[in-house]
């Protein structure tokens, strides 16, 4: 099998998983060529992914964390942005960025998040779209629901004016996904300016919102660093959960039996959410740069070499997950790595789980059946990945 983890068409669908399955059978790490670079190593097995992500002293984040990112861009934010930093600096940033996401802080938010998600589902399912006579509704599970879910939660947590929510959603997606790097820069410049204003306002008049909590925890972060990390939180929140939510609707559309089962047995919800996270794994890979000679799975790595840890592949590793390519709502244990591993493990994982739980709870109540209503469309990136369009027919309960 030809392996190309840089080819966009490999990622429009599930073919990347076939390639990674093949790589898992090869000994050691696999060397992957690059058209305009020295190439990189691929870690595809669960244990190898753990070895890379769990050892930040050997595998640094400071030179960038994704394939296709520019080393220059990473340099500019190294040790300033949480995701592009190493210990001990990473820990100091994380204490600030993580302040709004502790269990105690989130208790404050729990009811508001659930109410917001429930309202969203009510709106999507309840709105009269002039649908067919049988009462079913055709919706784009991504545009109408999945991408609005995290956008609405994070904007509410930041207490942004409701009129700004669509703009923030668009800018966040453009800032990460626009094919033209200058368009990405423009979107990020706009986000940067937006947060600069917001931070000034919240400093003058603190509230019980996420930005105020971050400022209160401020530590030794400069204003620029606060802004960069606010923008990082926005990206991490918005560009991930949407793909897990959309992937869940695809699963239930293809497997009506699973949807009926979940509606009949809501106690399956917690394990179902974990299985959705394992199954969709929107963060496909994380890149690290080797700082000292090290051997992983028998492969010797040299300082300066880059290693990609394929989280989505670890989550399909048959050595850890029985029948990894089967969606099992009751899978236990389910030690998936969808949130990463090690010091950089997702700071917002609790919110993500809460959003998905609230979404399914509301859908179970409102929607009797979910059926495919057109061809799904996939994003083609190899970093954060999932459905960008998913027409579904929903029959209200």
């Amino acid at each position: 099998m030809d392996i190309d983890l840089l080819a966009p068409d490999v990622f429009s669908g599930y073919r990347y998983l076939d390639q990674l399955a093949e790589l898992r059978t090869r000994p050691g790490l696999t060397r992957h060529p690059e058209p305009h670079g020295p190439g990189f190593w691929v870690a595809s097995r669960y244990d190898d992914v753990l070895a890379v992500l769990g050892d930040p002293a050997t595998f640094s984040s400071r030179a960038g964390i994704r394939l296709g990112g520019s080393g220059e861009a990473a340099d500019l934010v190294a040790d300033r942005m949480m995701v592009v930093s190493d210990p001990p600096r990473h820990g100091r940033i994380r204490r600030v960025v993580g302040a709004p996401f502790t269990p105690a802080a989130l208790r404050l938010w729990h009811d508001r998040i659930v109410a917001g998600v429930t309202d969203l589902v009510d709106e999507v399912v309840g709105a009269d779209g002039g649908g067919p006579a049988d009462g079913s509704l055709v919706r784009d599970a991504v545009g109408d629901l999945a991408e609005r879910l995290p956008n609405q939660v994070i904007c509410a947590m930041m207490d942004l004016p409701r009129a700004d929510w669509p703009l923030i959603g668009r800018l966040t997606t453009d800032g990460l996904d626009s094919p033209d790097p200058i368009d990405r820069l423009d979107a990020n410049a706009e986000i940067f300016g937006y947060f600069a204003d917001l931070i000034d306002r919240r400093r003058a008049r603190p509230g019980d919102d996420l930005i105020s909590a971050l400022l209160a925890a401020g530590g030794d972060l400069t204003d620029d660093e606060l802004i960069l990390n606010c923008s990082g939180v926005l990206t991490g929140a918005s560009e991930t959960v949407r793909y897990s939510a959309a992937g869940a609707l695809l699963v239930f559309g293809d497997r009506p039996d699973l949807w009926s089962e979940l509606r009949a047995s809501p106690e399956l919800l917690p394990t179902t959410v974990e299985e959705i996270l394992r199954w969709t794994s929107p963060g496909l890979h994380a890149l690290r740069t080797v700082t000292r000679p090290v051997t992983v799975s028998g492969t010797e790595l040299l300082p300066g070499e880059r290693v990609t840890a394929w989280i989505c592949s670890a989550n399909r590793d048959p050595a850890v997950f029985a029948d990894p390519d089967v969606f099992r709502p009751d899978r236990t244990p389910n030690r998936h790595l969808a949130f990463g591993w090690g010091p950089h493990v997702c700071v917002g994982s609790r919110v993500a789980r809460l959003e998905l739980t609230a979404l399914l709870t509301a859908l179970v109540r409102r929607v009797r059946t979910i059926a495919p209503a057109g061809e799904p469309v996939w994003s083609t990136g190899n970093f954060i990945h999932g459905l960008t369009r998913l027409p579904v027919r929903l029959s209200p309960a």
Binding site: A73, L185, N188, A189, E190, F192, A196, D224
Partner: protein, 77 residues
């Protein structure tokens, strides 16, 4: 449009003194700095300009002229 206000923004972002015929990149400007300049121009001068404009017109006087045009355009804040 006077270059003074724009020069102040460049100086703050780049950390060096700036003259009218200085080039943004020659002064050490890069993508993040360009982003910061554009954000500051929007906030302080009320002019919305794309990063592309700075990248394509990296000389202070030239960039300022572009801003003046953008700022005077109808419908802009």
């Amino acid at each position: 449009m006077d270059t003074t206000a724009v020069a102040e923004i460049w100086q703050e972002v780049l950390g060096v003194p700036v003259k009218d015929d200085d080039d943004f990149f020659a002064l050490g400007g890069q993508s993040l700095a360009a982003m910061e300049v554009v954000a500051a121009v929007r906030r302080r001068l009320g002019i919305t300009v794309r990063v592309r404009v700075l990248l394509e017109h990296p000389v202070l006087a030239d960039f300022t002229e572009r801003l003046a045009a953008a700022g005077a355009a109808p419908g802009r804040p």
